[in-house]
C-alpha cells in the first residue's frame, strides 16, 4: 500500500457540529474518485480554529485548509491527492497565531492510545531524565525554564520542587490538582481528555525530581471522561513499565492513583485538597507549614496544576532555555485560556505570555459577538478582576494582570459587551464564592454573604451611598483576614468594577437605573404606541403572556406578569419597546 495522506476534519462553525456528516461525505467522494486507499480522514475534536466552516488539516504536509464547502471536496481531493488543480485559496493562516505547547497533541492524537503519544516524542523526556539526568538537573532545567504554576498563583514550579526535594522527610508525594472549578473554565479538562499521557509523564518526572514514591490525581467527579482517560493512561503506563517499580530499569519506583473530588470549589485550594485526599472535610489548613514541607499525611507534597505538569516533559525534552525564550520577563511560556462570553470564537486557545488582551480578544477570538462594543474583559474566574476596554492593551502575564487588579488565575477569560451590567457581573461571581465558601473562617463566611446582600440591595434599586463604603470595608477585611485564597480574592470582581466603573455603581445607587437592563428589579418595559406597528411579534414571543391588547386599542405590557426577560425588546423590529 502506498503512503496514505492523513486528513483531520473539523466543523468549526459556532452554531453546529456537522463534522461526522462531513467525514462521511468526504470518504464517499474519496471512494468515488478511487483514492480511498490513499487517504485517512479522521474527525478531530478541536483544532484550535473557530468559525471557519469546515477545516481540513493535511497532517503529512502540515497545511491547514479552511472554509471548505461540501461542493469543494471533489476539487480538494483532486488537488491534494492527484495533483490536479490547486486549492491554495482555502489555505488557512492565522494572522496572530496561537502557540500550542500544552495543547500540541489535543485533538490530534488518540488520547487512549499510548503509541500515538509516544509517536509525538511521548515519554522521551522521562527516558532522558531517568538515564541522563539527576533529580537536581531536572529541577535545574525547570528553574531555567522559569515555569510558574498555572493554577493561578504563579509560584515558581522549580522552587516548590526543590523545597520538597530538600526536605529531611523521605516519604514524599506528588499531587496533580485537576479540581478545575472556575465557572466557564475547561482548560484542564481538555488537557486531561486530549493528552492524558503528557500529564502522567509530567507527574512521573515531578516524582523523580522530588524523590516521591507516590502520586495522586485529584480530579473532580464531574469530569468522567477525563477520569476514564487518565485511568487508561495510567494503566497503559504500567503495562509499558513507565510506572511501578524500577521504571525503565532506572531503579526509580513511582505509583500513581486517582482520587475524585466531590465538587467543592474550595478543594482546588491546595491545603483543602490535601484534607480531602486524606478523607477529611475539605477545608483549608493554616499555612505554614506549606505542603512542600508538610502536606499529605504530614509528608512533603508538591501540588501542581494540570497545565503545569503537561508542560514539564517538553521542558525536559527541549531544555529550559527553550521555554524561557517565550513570554515576558517574569512570565515564561504559554497559557491556555478558555474564552467565553460575548465573543465570536469562544473556545480554548493557547497563547504565548506577553500577548495583549486585545490581540487575544480581537485577533484570535475574532472580536465581540454581533459587532457590539467591548465593555470589559474578565480574567481569573471568580477570584479575578474585571479589566475595562481602556486597559485592553494589558499584556497577558502574571505581573501585568496583577498591576490592573486582576489575576491570571487558571485561565478563564470572559468577554463582556455593553449589554453586561458591571454590578450584575461581580454579583454573579461573588454569589459563586459565597456558595462555595467552606465556612471555616469568619471573614469569608460572613463577609462574602454580607457583601452579596449589599450587592443584591443595590441591584434591586435599594442601595444607599453608605453601601459602597461598606462594600470596600468588608472587602478589605476579607482580603486581609481570610484564611485561604478563596476568601482573600473573592472581593476582586467587586473591587475592580467599583474601581473602573464607578459611574455604573453611582447610577444604580443614586438614579436607581441599570444601564444594561440586567438588574431587572429596576427595569420596566413599555410599548411606545407611536412606534408600534401592531405586528404582535412581542405578544407571540413573550414567554409569560404579559403583553395583551388589540390592533385597535394597542398593546400594553402587564407589569405584574412581566419577568423582564427582555425578549420583546430584542424581537421588536421597530424599536417600539422602551426599556427604562
Amino acid at each position: 500500500m502506498s503512503k496514505q495522506t492523513i486528513f483531520l476534519l473539523r466543523d468549526t462553525s459556532l452554531t453546529q457540529d456537522n463534522t461526522r456528516d462531513f467525514q462521511i461525505l468526504f470518504l464517499k467522494i474519496a471512494r468515488d474518485l478511487g483514492v480511498e486507499d490513499s487517504i485517512q480522514a479522521v474527525r478531530a475534536s478541536d483544532l484550535g480554529i473557530y468559525d471557519k466552516g469546515y477545516v481540513v488539516k493535511d497532517l503529512n504536509n502540515k497545511i491547514t485548509y479552511a472554509n471548505i464547502q461540501e461542493t469543494d471536496i471533489e476539487k480538494f481531493l483532486k488537488a491534494t491527492i492527484k495533483g490536479e488543480g490547486s486549492v491554495d485559496e482555502f489555505k488557512y493562516t492565522a494572522d496572530k497565531c496561537q502557540l500550542r505547547i500544552v495543547l500540541r497533541n489535543c485533538g490530534l492524537i488518540d488520547p487512549e492510545n499510548i503509541e500515538e503519544y509516544m509517536a509525538q516524542q511521548g515519554y522521551c523526556a522521562l527516558a532522558k531524565a531517568l538515564t541522563e539526568m539527576t533529580p537536581e538537573t531536572v529541577i535545574d532545567e525547570m528553574k531555567k525554564s522559569g515555569l510558574r504554576g498555572r493554577g493561578g498563583a504563579g509560584f515558581p514550579t522549580w522552587m516548590k520542587w526543590s523545597f520538597a526535594r530538600n526536605s529531611l522527610d523521605e516519604t514524599r508525594f506528588v499531587v496533580c490538582n485537576a479540581d478545575e472549578g472556575d465557572p466557564g473554565a475547561y482548560m484542564d479538562r481538555s488537557i486531561l481528555e486530549g493528552d492524558p499521557h503528557a500529564v502522567v509523564e509530567g507527574m512521573i518526572l515531578a516524582g523523580f525530581a522530588i524523590g516521591a514514591q507516590r502520586g495522586f490525581f485529584y480530579i473532580r467527579a464531574e469530569y468522567p471522561l477525563a477520569i476514564k482517560r487518565i485511568e487508561t493512561a495510567i494503566e497503559q503506563a504500567y503495562e509499558r513499565g513507565l510506572l511501578g517499580n524500577d521504571i525503565l530499569g532506572s531503579g526509580f519506583n513511582f505509583d500513581l492513583e486517582i482520587r475524585l473530588g466531590a465538587g467543592a470549589f474550595v478543594c482546588g485550594e491546595e491545603t483543602a485538597l490535601i484534607e480531602s485526599i486524606e478523607g477529611k472535610r475539605g477545608t483549608p489548613r493554616p499555612r505554614p507549614p506549606f505542603p512542600a514541607d508538610k502536606g499529605l499525611w504530614n509528608h512533603p507534597t508538591i501540588i501542581n496544576n494540570v497545565e503545569t505538569l503537561a508542560t514539564v516533559a517538553q521542558i525536559i525534552n527541549r531544555g529550559g532555555e527553550w521555554l524561557a525564550a517565550i513570554g515576558t520577563e517574569k512570565s515564561k511560556g504559554t497559557k491556555v485560556f478558555a474564552i467565553t462570553g460575548k465573543v465570536k470564537n469562544s473556545g480554548l486557545v493557547e497563547i504565548p505570555m506577553g500577548m495583549t488582551l486585545g490581540e487575544v480578544v480581537f485577533g484570535i477570538a475574532g472580536g465581540v459577538l454581533g459587532g457590539r462594543k467591548l465593555m470589559a474583559v474578565q480574567t481569573g474566574g471568580p477570584s479575578g478582576g474585571v479589566i475595562p476596554l481602556k486597559l485592553i492593551d494589558t499584556k497577558v502575564s502574571y505581573e501585568h494582570l496583577a498591576e490592573v487588579g486582576s489575576i491570571m488565575g487558571s485561565g478563564g477569560l470572559i468577554v463582556m459587551d455593553e449589554d453586561d451590567c458591571m454590578v450584575d457581573i461581580p454579583r454573579f461571581y461573588l454569589r459563586f464564592c459565597v456558595e462555595e465558601s467552606c465556612g471555616k473562617c469568619a471573614p469569608c463566611r460572613i463577609g462574602g454573604f454580607q457583601m452579596l446582600k449589599i450587592l443584591d440591595r443595590i441591584a434591586e434599586g435599594k442601595g444607599v451611598e453608605a453601601d459602597l463604603q461598606q462594600l470596600q470595608r468588608i472587602a478589605k477585611g476579607m482580603q486581609k483576614a481570610s484564611l485561604c485564597a478563596l476568601g482573600q480574592t473573592a472581593p476582586n470582581p467587586v473591587l475592580s468594577t467599583m474601581k473602573y466603573f464607578p459611574e455604573e455603581y453611582r447610577q444604580h445607587v443614586e438614579d436607581k437605573k441599570c444601564r444594561a437592563g440586567k438588574c431587572t428589579k429596576m427595569v420596566q418595559y413599555t410599548i411606545d404606541q407611536t412606534h408600534c406597528k401592531k405586528c404582535k411579534l412581542c405578544v407571540v414571543n413573550c414567554p409569560v403572556g404579559a403583553i395583551s391588547g388589540s390592533r385597535e386599542a394597542g398593546y400594553v405590557v402587564d407589569q405584574v406578569k412581566c419577568i423582564k426577560c427582555g425578549t420583546c425588546y430584542e424581537v421588536c423590529k421597530f424599536k417600539a419597546i422602551v426599556r427604562k
Partner: protein
C-alpha cells in the same frame, strides 16, 4: 532560640513558638476568638492577624511560628480596623441576646465587642435557621450563638476522640452538629461537656437545672440534701473572686445552709466508700482472680458512657462500683432516712458536680434507683451553683466556715484527691496496700500517678509483688492504654496493667465540663494543688479509716462487697452502638 521583634520589642523564644505566644512574653495581647491553649490552632476566626515587615499578606498569629529576625506589628490603625470589621461581621450572625444568655459576662465575643468599643450594628442581622438541641439533658446547644470557632469540634474529635460533633454544610450554612443531622442524644456524645467548657460564647452550655433546685428548696414537704464533689471546692472560687485552687469546702457548707438545704453532705464520704469497695474488688482480683485483671475505674460517667459505646471488649474489666455521689444518694434515702426517720420519698438529693455527664448518670440504669427511689434527684454543675449563690444574696466571702453534717459528711484525704487525675488510683492503692499487707505505706503520696501527662504509668511494689498501673485523662488518651490491654489479651500475654484509672476530662474532674470557664493547665495545676493540700491537711488519709464509714459498715452495710453493699454500691453495664439512630 530565635530572636525577633514585636512592636519594636526584641523577643527571644524557642524555635516553633507562635507569634501569639511570643507576643505574650513581651506583654502584648493579641485578641483571638478561636485559639485555645488546650487545642491545636484552627485559624478560623481571623482576628489575630498581624503584619510582618517584608511580607505582603497579614499573618495569623495563632498558627504562624515566629521566624528569626521577623519584625512584627500587632497593633496599628489598619489592623485594628480589620479586626473590628471581622468582629462586626461575626456579631451580624450572632443574636443580640447578651442579657438573657448564660454566658452574659463570661462570653469571649461579648468581651471582644466591648474591648473594641463596638457601639452599633454595622451589618444587618443574619437570622440562621438552626435547630436548638437540648436532647441530652446535660448539654444544651444553641446553634444561633455559634461563631464556628471550631473549638468544640476539636475538643470532641482531637481531645476526646468521641466524634459526636462535626461540621456540616458549608458557607453561611455551615454549622456544628452530629454527622447526619441527628440530635446529640442520638449521637456518640458522652456528655463530658468539654465542648461547653471551651465554647467562647453561649452556643454550648450546661442544661440549666437550677429552677428545679429552687423549687425543691421552696417546697416545705421536701427534706433537701446536698452533696458536693471534691473538684468543686477548689474551682468555684474562680467565679466567686478567689485565686485559682482556693479550697472553699467549709464556706460552701455554710452557703448551702443559707440556701436552705436541710442537710449538707460531702461526696467525699461516698468516695471513701468507693475506695473501700473498689479496693476490695481490686485486692480480690489481684490476689485470687488474676484473669480478671486489669481492673478499670468507673467513677467517671462520661468514661462509662464511652466504654459502653466504643469499648465493649473491656466491659468485664470495669469495676462494678458506683460513683461516689450515687453512693451518697443511695445512702441518703436508706441509711440516713432510716436513722433520722425521714420518709425517703420526701428526701430530695442535689449533687453539686464539676461535670455535665453526671446529669445523665442519675438516670443511667436501674441501679441508680437502688434506694427504691431516684437516688440522686438533680445534678447541678459548679457554674450553676455559683449562679445560685449569687442570686441568693449571700456574701460568700464573709461567710464563717461551717462543717458538714454527720453520718454522710466526714471524709479522708484519700477521698478528696478523687477530683484530680491519678487521685482515685492513689486512694485505692493506699487502701489496697493495707488490705494486702495489713500495714501502712512509708510514703503515702504516689508521685508517678500525679501530674498532667496524658498517660501515666507506674509500678508499685506491694508485698513482693508489683502492681502495674496506668492513669489516663482526656478520653483521647485512653486509646493507647486500652490498645495495650487488648493486644496483650489477643496474644495471651500477661496484662500490661493491673489497675487502670480513667477520667474523661483533661486533668480529671478539676478540669471537668461543668467547671468555671477559662481553664488552662495552669489553673488545673492550681486546683490540683488545692486538693493535694486538702489531702495533706486531713488527719486521716486512708479511706478505710474514715470513722463514719466504719460506723456505716458496722451498723448497716456489713462487709464490703457483701449483699447490702452489692445492692446499694454496685452497678452493671450494658453495651450499645455509638449511634442510636
Amino acid at each position: 532560640m530565635i530572636t525577633a521583634r514585636i512592636n519594636g520589642i526584641t523577643v527571644k523564644v524557642p524555635v516553633g513558638t507562635t507569634i501569639l505566644e511570643a507576643a505574650k512574653r513581651v506583654q502584648i495581647k493579641i485578641p483571638t476568638l478561636c485559639a485555645h491553649p488546650d487545642l491545636p490552632a484552627r485559624a478560623s476566626c481571623g482576628i489575630c492577624i498581624v503584619k510582618a515587615k517584608g511580607i505582603n499578606k497579614m499573618l495569623r498569629a495563632c498558627c504562624t511560628p515566629i521566624e528569626k529576625d521577623m519584625d512584627i506589628i500587632t497593633h496599628d490603625a489598619e489592623i485594628v480596623e480589620i479586626r473590628r470589621t471581622v468582629i462586626e461581621l461575626i456579631l451580624s450572625k450572632h443574636p443580640n441576646e447578651c442579657l438573657t444568655c448564660t454566658r452574659n459576662h463570661t462570653c469571649e465575643l461579648q468581651q471582644l465587642a466591648a474591648d473594641f468599643g463596638i457601639l452599633r450594628e454595622s451589618f444587618p442581622q443574619i437570622e440562621p435557621k438552626v435547630p436548638y438541641d437540648d436532647s441530652t439533658g446535660a448539654i444544651a446547644v444553641d446553634r444561633r450563638k455559634c461563631i464556628l470557632c471550631g473549638r468544640c469540634v476539636d475538643v470532641c474529635q482531637v481531645m476526646q476522640n468521641v466524634w459526636a460533633l462535626s461540621f456540616l454544610d458549608r458557607g453561611i450554612d455551615a454549622r456544628v452538629a452530629p454527622a447526619g443531622e441527628i440530635t446529640l442524644e442520638e449521637s456518640p456524645c458522652i456528655r463530658c461537656g468539654q465542648c461547653s467548657a471551651h465554647c467562647p460564647t453561649g452556643a454550648i452550655v450546661e442544661h440549666d437545672d437550677t429552677p428545679k433546685v429552687w423549687a425543691a428548696l421552696q417546697n416545705p414537704e421536701l427534706h433537701c440534701v446536698v452533696q458536693i464533689a471534691p473538684a468543686v471546692r477548689v474551682a468555684i472560687g474562680d467565679i466567686l473572686g478567689y485565686p485559682p485552687g482556693t479550697n472553699l469546702t467549709r464556706k460552701l457548707y455554710a452557703a448551702f445552709r443559707r440556701l436552705g438545704f436541710d442537710s449538707v453532705f460531702d461526696t467525699n464520704f461516698g468516695a471513701d466508700v468507693t475506695i473501700v469497695e473498689e479496693g476490695t474488688e481490686f485486692v480480690h482480683r489481684f490476689t485470687k482472680a488474676p484473669e480478671q485483671l486489669p481492673l478499670i475505674t468507673s467513677c467517671c460517667p462520661a468514661w462509662v458512657d464511652f466504654m459502653e459505646k466504643y469499648h465493649h471488649d473491656v466491659v468485664p474489666h470495669f469495676s462494678s462500683c458506683k460513683s461516689p455521689h450515687q453512693i451518697v444518694g443511695a445512702l441518703a434515702k436508706t441509711f440516713y432516712a432510716k436513722k433520722r426517720r425521714h420518709d425517703p420519698e420526701n428526701i430530695f438529693v442535689v449533687s453539686i458536680m464539676p461535670c455535665t455527664a453526671k446529669k445523665y448518670e442519675i438516670t443511667r440504669s436501674k441501679e441508680m434507683y437502688a434506694s427504691g427511689y431516684k437516688d440522686v434527684d438533680i445534678v447541678i454543675t459548679t457554674r450553676e451553683l455559683a449562679r445560685m449563690i449569687k442570686q441568693s444574696g449571700i456574701d460568700f466571702n464573709s461567710l464563717v466556715d461551717e462543717d458538714a453534717d454527720s453520718i454522710l459528711g466526714e471524709y479522708t484525704g484519700a477521698a478528696t484527691i478523687f477530683g484530680v487525675t491519678g487521685g482515685v488510683m492513689e486512694a485505692a492503692l493506699r487502701t489496697a496496700y493495707y488490705a494486702i499487707t495489713g500495714g501502712k505505706l512509708a510514703n503515702i503520696e504516689f508521685e508517678n500517678v500525679r501530674g498532667f501527662d496524658g498517660v501515666k504509668e507506674g509500678a508499685i511494689p506491694i508485698h513482693g509483688k508489683t502492681v502495674k498501673v496506668a492513669v489516663a485523662h482526656g478520653i483521647g488518651n485512653v486509646e493507647y492504654v486500652l490498645n495495650r490491654v487488648v493486644e496483650a489479651k489477643r496474644k495471651g500475654e500477661e496484662p500490661p496493667y493491673h489497675f487502670i484509672e480513667v477520667m474523661a476530662c483533661p486533668g480529671g474532674c478539676i478540669g471537668g465540663g461543668g467547671q468555671p470557664y477559662g481553664v488552662t493547665n495552669q489553673i488545673r495545676a492550681a486546683r490540683a494543688a488545692g486538693l493535694y493540700s486538702d489531702d495533706r491537711d486531713c488527719a486521716i488519709r486512708y479511706s478505710h479509716e474514715n470513722p463514719s464509714l466504719k460506723a456505716l459498715y458496722d451498723e448497716y452495710i456489713g462487709k464490703p462487697l457483701g449483699e447490702r453493699a452489692h445492692h446499694l454500691f454496685h452497678t452493671g453495664y450494658t453495651t450499645y452502638s455509638e449511634y442510636k439512630r
